[in-house]
Amino acid sequence: MNIRDNPALQDRLAAEYVLGTLRHGARRRFERWLLDDAALRRTTAEWHERLMPLAELTAAAAPRPQVWRHIEHQLGLRRAARWWPSWQGDALAWWRALGLAAGAVAAALALVIGIGLTDTATINAVATLTDAQSQTALVLTADRRNKLLTVRMVGQAAVASDKTLQLWAVSRQGKPRSLGLLAGQGALQLALTEQAIGADVALLAVSLEPKGGSPDPNGPTGPILYKGSWVKLV
């Protein structure tokens, strides 16, 4: 069957595909046509827009509150939202909230090796910062000899044009110090000073802030997107 020259048939099949009545072999055949026919894809998308609002023509009903709690719990949103304030009053609380596995450190080292450092660099400390889903987002390495802190984004963070990412060093006492603003991708080197990352730093974190950085010099104002412990290697 040649449907390419038969727009009426194309239209009918696309409608039945979206409705769900196109079944079995006919459905699979249609999906194969979709792959290499942009016009058919467009026709199908149009039927999608036409018919999917049927879904809204049902009576609304409120789900029980535990549904949201489960979603929040499963995505780790509650922890992310409460994390920053929770340790400010109790310096130990964030240690508990952190719960980083040794695996993360191993992953950091693997990545460091992959990054391709020069012979002269000496890595004294590393951190892998992960998001709420425990996906590694940034790798940081400290080179004390050259006094450099290298920050690499593993992927790409989608940051709105009016926002920026800000990197923080958090001391064992729970006091954050800004290390600087980050681009949403690529690598960046910052000066490594005792003042910025001293011996008492236990944790690095990245928050989402208004353009230009946190308006509060004492700490982040936006949500913490990534965090990870600062692991000294020597």
Binding site: D11, R12, A15, E16, L19, G20, T21, R23, A45, H48, E49, R50, L51, M52, P53, L54, A55, E56, L57, T58, A59, A60, A61, A62, P63, R64, Q66, V67, W68, H70, I71, Q74, L75, L77, A80, A81, D131, A132, A157, A158, V159, A160, K163, L208, P223, L225
Partner: protein, 214 residues
């Protein structure tokens, strides 16, 4: 088995659709903005998106799965998928409610296929979508307002179909039924059902195009 909407109830429904007096929480621009924020891992926006759409999407999941526990499980899975794939949402390809409804519908169908015997279809629920929305005694005008403009237009066009055509389309759409399954439910020959569905869809297309022009 079939409940035909009375002329009066249809008029009531259309009237309710026609008089929005407060901001529509399903406004596509609002939802699109929240989705963009969710793509950037904004948990507060995710909550706003949930507040705006969860009851509508839960209504859909319940319509498909009947049992509340199953519908809640599907809603939960769907919102996790929405959080995880918000970055891939392309606003030029689909309206936000279309995108989210598709996720919920697909997940609910998957669920039903896995646990087919668990879900007993209730024949009384089988009348066309519009009739259901019009006849439900519970929701008042506020519920009718919870329709995007797309859905409002579609409701008006569904109303122009013959009751049985509308019912056949509703059965296929909400219950994942094939032509032969629809025919079985309606105790009609499969050829008749095929023709009705085809005509119904063609009529919807013409009606929606006309509405878009006006």
């Amino acid at each position: 088995m079939f409940v035909r909407a009375s002329r009066r109830s249809r008029q009531r429904f259309l009237l309710r659709c026609a008089v929005p007096s407060e901001p529509n929480p399903l406004d596509p621009a609002y939802l699109r903005h929240q989705l963009q924020l969710v793509a950037r891992r904004d948990a507060a926006a995710f909550r706003r998106l949930y507040d705006a759409t969860s009851s509508k999407l839960f209504g859909l999941a319940t319509r498909i799965l009947i049992k509340r526990e199953l519908a809640e499980e599907v809603l939960q899975d769907s919102f996790i998928a929405i959080w995880n794939s918000a970055a891939s949402y392309q606003s030029h390809l689909a309206a936000p409610m279309t995108w989210m409804s598709t996720i919920v519908r697909n997940k609910a169908f998957d669920f039903r296929r896995r646990a087919d015997d668990m879900v007993e279809l209730d024949a009384d629920r089988f009348d066309g979508a519009l009739v259901d929305a019009a006849e439900d005694s519970g929701p008042g005008p506020a519920d009718a307002l919870q329709l995007s403009n797309d859905a409002r237009a579609l409701a008006l066009c569904m109303d122009t179909l013959e009751g049985m055509h509308r019912q056949a389309i509703g059965l296929a759409f909400f219950h994942d039924l094939s032509h032969s399954e629809v025919a079985q439910q309606l105790t009609l020959p499969i050829g008749t059902v095929k023709t009705w569905i085809r005509r119904g869809l063609a009529r919807l297309k013409t009606c929606l195009a006309r509405q878009e022009q006006s």
